[in-house]
């Protein structure tokens, strides 16, 4: 049984791709299709890593990211952001939120912009959780 990696993405193609890459490299994928599902699964399963999309309908990845990073039981879980949004746009959004009095949260362990190569994704995961 490999390490548990939670994939949160509304795009079924991305989920399938991520899951396949994870399985190919011996990890155990967990799948959530939106932020709410992702939060519940993270609490239940205490995954070793979360791969999170930024833009999702209903509940955005930004909100889930900030929740995970400020939850004392979950904030140690490393997060890879995987998004069509450029990294600097994401970082700027975090800065703006902090300036508006929200908590300052650490940067994600890795930020990958779509499209991403399978090898790059696998290498990034390996670097973080082995």
């Amino acid at each position: 049984m490999g390490k548990k990696v939670l994939v949160v993405d509304d795009d079924p193609d991305v989920r399938l791709f991520n899951v396949t890459v994870l399985e190919e490299h011996g990890y155990t994928p967990l799948v959530a299709t939106n932020g709410e599902e992702g939060r519940n699964l993270a609490k239940q399963e205490k995954p070793d890593l979360v791969i999170l999309d930024v833009l999702m309908p209903r509940e955005s990845g930004i909100r889930l990211y900030r929740e995970l990073k400020t939850d004392k039981n979950l904030k140690h879980i490393p997060i890879i952001m995987l998004s069509g949004i450029a990294e600097k746009s994401f970082l700027r959004s975090q800065k703006v939120l902090a300036e508006f009095g929200d908590a300052t949260v650490p940067e994600p362990e890795a930020y990958l912009e779509k499209p991403v190569e399978a090898e790059e994704l696998a290498a990034t995961i390996k670097k973080i959780i082995g």
Binding site: T20, D53, P57, G84, K114, P115, V116
Partner: protein, 512 residues
Amino acid sequence: MNRILLVDDEPDILRVLGISLRADGYAVLTASSGEEALSIFARETPELVITDIKMPGMNGIEVLREVKNISDETEVIIITGHGDIDSAIEALHYGASDFINKPVRDKQLTIALKRAQDKIHIKQQLREYTTTLEHKVEAATREIRRRSNFQGKLIRSSNDGIVATDEELRIVIYNPGAERIFGYPQQGVIHRMQIQELYTPEIVDLFVAGVTQEKGLKEFPWQETSIVSGNGENIPVRFSGSILHENDRKMGSVAFFQDLREIKRLEHELLKAERLAAVGQTVAGLAHGLKNILHGLKGGSYLVDLGLKKDDTAKLKSGWDMIKRNIGRTSELVLDLLTYSKEREPEFEDCFPNEIAADVADLLAEKAQESRVEIKKSLDPAISQVSMDPRIIHNALLNLMTNAIDACLFDEDTGQKWQVAIVTTLEDDNNIRFDVSDNGAGMSQEVRERLFTSFFSTKGHRGTGLGLMVTRKLVEEHGGRIDVISAPGKGTTFTIHLPFEAAGEKKTKSSV
């Protein structure tokens, strides 16, 4: 002081009268014959002549006639013999101002002179008055001419088309501005045309009613309309007019026309420019959607490679499906972009709008079923075959119904029995109304405001933000409009009103 020419063949009388007149302060010239009198008169033109009637050679009457002939202004007093009434009357007939009888008495002379002087004075005043009057009339005429000239120039140089008529609605003023708009040369219009030959029937009706009916409108405020020019071109104009009155009498009518061709062209250009700018913004905003598609294609290729390497048909198939799905998304995106950036005239043709609505509902039946959404149709049987652009109806309904199904998917109330309804209604003889409603997620005011305006989507990886922009553009090109009502948690209704022509009337409707 008046000068008097005294004429008498008797030197004594000349002397005595001369002394008497000089004593009264006159300058006196004397002549002892008619001939001499005329030569002095010609030289000196005195204001008064006193002449004896009976003289050898030229007599007093002849002197009178000659003097009057030379200068009508000169007063002539005739001295007649006692009881010579006939001569006196003849003298008066020829314009003598007075006559006195011989022997000349001072008192009589004074009275005659006073009368003559009064006459001279009155004549002088009259002359001065007439001269002044002539000057004034001349000045007034000049002023009127100047003003009319000014007004004429004003009318001629006005950029607006100005057309005025008499009370019979015959055209009397038609300026170069009007010439530019209507296209008929001035000489063929002024005094030659009635407004019926120049204006469209709607404008003609206004003026005819204004002139003939007591209660007809007398002022027509600015309004946008169009006229048909001499070469048959439809020209958009702003128009205003009024019926002209003087006191209670109708004088005619005047109408002003502003050529809107340039403005319309600019508006059109602006619209195009705005749309291109929106496409630019869109492309920037599209980056996210494009990256998702690329990611899908790469992911698909990865799965296909994996499937080939491991001889795993399941992986191969899911990879291939992923590629196909993302190719589909690419083509939708590209088509939307093309539709949005390109101008297209609607192509009217005979079609059955209800059938198109039913087709779209069928097309989406599978997707709806997968999403546990029920599609309801309510199609107005009063709608039969009409002339519209079926592609626009199809595109618009397909987009709105897809959105409606998506709205149900985004609804958090999973216990809900979701429905999407398509309703068609024959609004009147020219318009069909299409309602697409759902009882899904609904929209906040913020989302509603941004709906059509920018590159905006709430659909995460699936939204390009182009769909409603394209739909609105198509609807507007068809001369229709699109409205939306929505409440968060309750659902959304999009309404499209589209005009139609009677079936069989193939026509291309202008987009402006």
